[in-house]
Assembly symmetry: D2
Homo-oligomer: 349 residues x 4
Amino acid sequence: MNFASDNAYGVSPEIIDALVQVNEGASSSYGGDEITAQLGEEMCKLFETDVAVFPVPSGTGANALALSTMVPSFGAVLCHEEAHINVDECGAVELYSGGCKLIGLPGAGAQLTAEGLKARLAGFVRGDHDPRRCAVSITQASELGTVYSLAEIGAIGAVCKEHGMKLHLDGARFANALVSLDCTPAEMTWKAGVDAVSFGVSKNGGMITDAVVFFDTSLAEDFDRRRLQGGQLIAKGRYASAQILAYLKDDLWLHNARHANAMAQKLSSGLEGVEGVRLHAPTQANEVFAVLPASVHGALQEAGAVYHCWPPNPNSGPVPSEPGEVLARLVTSFAASEEDVDRFVTAAG
Amino acid sequence: MNFASDNAYGVSPEIIDALVQVNEGASSSYGGDEITAQLGEEMCKLFETDVAVFPVPSGTGANALALSTMVPSFGAVLCHEEAHINVDECGAVELYSGGCKLIGLPGAGAQLTAEGLKARLAGFVRGDHDPRRCAVSITQASELGTVYSLAEIGAIGAVCKEHGMKLHLDGARFANALVSLDCTPAEMTWKAGVDAVSFGVSKNGGMITDAVVFFDTSLAEDFDRRRLQGGQLIAKGRYASAQILAYLKDDLWLHNARHANAMAQKLSSGLEGVEGVRLHAPTQANEVFAVLPASVHGALQEAGAVYHCWPPNPNSGPVPSEPGEVLARLVTSFAASEEDVDRFVTAAG
Amino acid sequence: MNFASDNAYGVSPEIIDALVQVNEGASSSYGGDEITAQLGEEMCKLFETDVAVFPVPSGTGANALALSTMVPSFGAVLCHEEAHINVDECGAVELYSGGCKLIGLPGAGAQLTAEGLKARLAGFVRGDHDPRRCAVSITQASELGTVYSLAEIGAIGAVCKEHGMKLHLDGARFANALVSLDCTPAEMTWKAGVDAVSFGVSKNGGMITDAVVFFDTSLAEDFDRRRLQGGQLIAKGRYASAQILAYLKDDLWLHNARHANAMAQKLSSGLEGVEGVRLHAPTQANEVFAVLPASVHGALQEAGAVYHCWPPNPNSGPVPSEPGEVLARLVTSFAASEEDVDRFVTAAG
Amino acid sequence: MNFASDNAYGVSPEIIDALVQVNEGASSSYGGDEITAQLGEEMCKLFETDVAVFPVPSGTGANALALSTMVPSFGAVLCHEEAHINVDECGAVELYSGGCKLIGLPGAGAQLTAEGLKARLAGFVRGDHDPRRCAVSITQASELGTVYSLAEIGAIGAVCKEHGMKLHLDGARFANALVSLDCTPAEMTWKAGVDAVSFGVSKNGGMITDAVVFFDTSLAEDFDRRRLQGGQLIAKGRYASAQILAYLKDDLWLHNARHANAMAQKLSSGLEGVEGVRLHAPTQANEVFAVLPASVHGALQEAGAVYHCWPPNPNSGPVPSEPGEVLARLVTSFAASEEDVDRFVTAAG
């Protein structure tokens, strides 16, 4: 019953198989190989447009590198105050940009709104003493497991365009959001105004790779140098690209995400039936945030359940109010078992 | 006949197997797992002392992160002018340190000498207008495939100690140097004054991982933060650690390196017998640098041999002097076949 | 009637005179001169302890350089969300530290409280995914013209000490706060736990210089290099040091500050008597923040008064609520004339 | 007899006077004042084209800020290996660019040549593993007191243009070079392909200011933010601009430079008549580099002469070869007296 992270469970067997199969013969290193070239083609098909794609070994790397193309040292990125880039990456964007500023905005469900964004932009009244506002970063699915609608992304994209800002989407859980919306990758990204995506692979069945995908390919100029300078160019590049190709093949990624989301729904529904439990945010992807009474938390711990207690934010929903209550973050991965979910709900109840 | 890079060939089957085996059950992410803990123990045994070890996805990452613990933005790292960190990593050390200076020194065989180092240090006459001299970085085996003797490392280590500087060893080809010297890992590192090593795995049979190893463990404080900030913390850490454990198990790494070195010796000897070919530097690890006459280069290209032409440095040895001559870099990996070497020499001759 | 900034009016005649007098003969450059040495001695006397003092050409430079000695790229500085370093310096601290994070806290009067600080520190629950919390920066007098009591500074200093953090004081208006508290420089700084001060000179009658003063002199190691690297080492250093010596001589700085504060009190009292005007924060130094009704604002504009309209923060006090109301920031400098204040109040009333 | 630096002597009386005169009334701060506006107009006239000009408090600041507009973290600036930016500024360009690389080239007289530049550019053979070559920086007059001819600058400018690189001119001794060449400011800069100049003021009679001048005004976009972020925006900007206006008025700057150069010529000629003294480089501006025999050096020290011994570079000219010989750097400022020069030569001889 490990619901601590979607990184806790292993790698999709299909992806392991792909690594075994690619382990033949010689090829160019540093991404000059044929498998990486094939990945580029597949991604263009997937997104129905010309994209530039760069595998990188981590989601933090993807975020920092992608945003470094958008913001100089004297610029600012607007994001949710609970955004992973703001609170969980130890200043990666700041390092890669040479000292930019992340400006965190409030918002329910760990989501920005076009209105909130406009209001904050109106606060840039200091002229050159303010940093240049360069980019907005949203997380889809969000850090509280909620999912922006296409209209919401589009509205944020429109604000960005109006202010000459770029729009980045942290897609560590891109697939989970995509199947939740039941839309195309193009609709969730460039058609809504997104310029670049951190395309998550590792959390949804990959081993060691994520990728940066640019729709505004002018941002990709010199990206090879940025990635190398960051130490994020994988020498044997085909072992990264092969993971992503296997991830996409036969819709493995969508299959994995649907399962994870379904398990989250089941878990969420089960918990809602437990006395005293309140959802902190709606369950729209593969994460459940629930306030657990002390007795429920105790029973789960005793049963050996593994999960993180999360810092609560009253802006989003119910928070712990009684002694011993906790806000639990429960993440269901592609490998979550129905039995574990049932056992968890039973132990809670 | 691909001698372009030790990254060109694949992954040792034992390492692939280890990845398949580790793909079971759940574990903590971000390096908090048991396999990573086991790696820490194995490395202490291997180096016969207390070390701190951190897997990272690339050698460039290992170098930049290791050196960032030694040098502030206003400091300098002394290295060979042809050092990988100076000419092949697009400013990674500079980025991670916030703007430090790499000071490149000349020297035959892409090696520093204690004497050369002392002479350069004597040139720090500008007081606070000079950067603080903080660290020396040497590459073992060197960028020209030569190997520092233990006495040479020790002499450099002594200069560092005398000047209050740290000593970093870029060990992208650590194993190749080690078997060439036939010494222990301890002798080649901390016993000779080395404070930290970029421990190469990927070039010698690994997939996606290298590691930083600290002997001066005070440098490791906050390294977890540095690694995360650099986007170089692998989420599913056990898949990196498992590679390294398999790499070390039953001396796989030494076996791989011995084979690669033997193939380089064979190639080197074979080429020396070819009319007009001159070695640019002695072959002491798994790389051969040879000046090839135009006719030899042409014949090899025709035969489909793959290798890089290298920028020649007259300080080290013979360089191209006739029209059409090239300096070829020939790298033999753990997977180089005797047949390929034979075919290559035959095609050259 | 220019109340836009304490930088709007010129330089104290005594300081101009000092520059004329120092313009004789030759001396060492880059701060190696006798006048700079004399400044060091005077500052030790002034602060009644051993300090290290470094003139720099701007307050932003002083803040960024001072904090860069306390916080690495992966660290964080806690400050008020309206702190000058957070909203008015375009990422200077971030640049100088190589990418650190400023974490802005709310608080009335643009002041931190020990309690608020403790609460925020308790939110550091992510271990190595959080930046290292390295320093706290407070502004005295604050960005809203309020003044921390000695007890308040001491309480913040105690929290810092308990958490192994350094305490920086942005003293752009150090003198104004000092005379407001009627205490000694030692009491307002190191005796209360302050490790370094950005010692403001330019706003209170100087020309082009401020200074960094370290009480924790271990932080000053290599500061000469930092200052040079930042382009903030003044070549003809004696022209900076001479300004500061003249500033301190015969208590010129205290005289200037007392006048400025008295003018602010007069202005504040005058405005309180005007119908509809509400103070946004108490007037404790040389700044008045007042909500002006549309009619008052209009009358003042018509009379030619110059001042900035400020972004209001409801946490601190009354904010504009009626159409046309503005929050005016009125700064009185050492050169503010009583007549101007009277004319202003009359025009307002 | 202080020939240590052109910073050793004071400030031109005309510039001191201008500071006294400007010390009246109120004006906008941070460069929004009328005197700064007037400076912009004067500089356009002076350079006979549309320029953007920004006062900054130091030459190092001017260099670092100017180059930061031209080179990203993954880029490189080519300069002479003895360039001030490379050996005397403690990594300022590296800091401001977030980690760029300075690539030092050899060359007599501390000068680059178009040929040497082309040869080095041809060594960029590693593709994306090389940093992007973004800019060239030359120093006029050079660090060895030599002066580029207009044709030499033009040839370097042409190489830059051909390779898409920007050309920066470090003009710490701009005036000295200008009067040496007897040309117009336009001819020495944009007409020869220069995109930006660090316009030296302080070494030639100024107090605390230099300036950045952009001919490619697209580089000036966001320069206000860069300057503020660097802590190099002078709050009371009119006191910087007034210095520069006085410096230009009635050709004070040319007058000062002509005097300094004439004194250097006199000193140089005098020393050439002293037995055993050899010039290390031709005297073309206001610096003399001469190898002094031990006896001469001793006699000068005894006579109380002040100057720096310089690290010799055999590429440029004669270097110390006998025991006790030194390479002396003798700088004559605008305030150097003929008597001092005579006394110096007499003491030497």
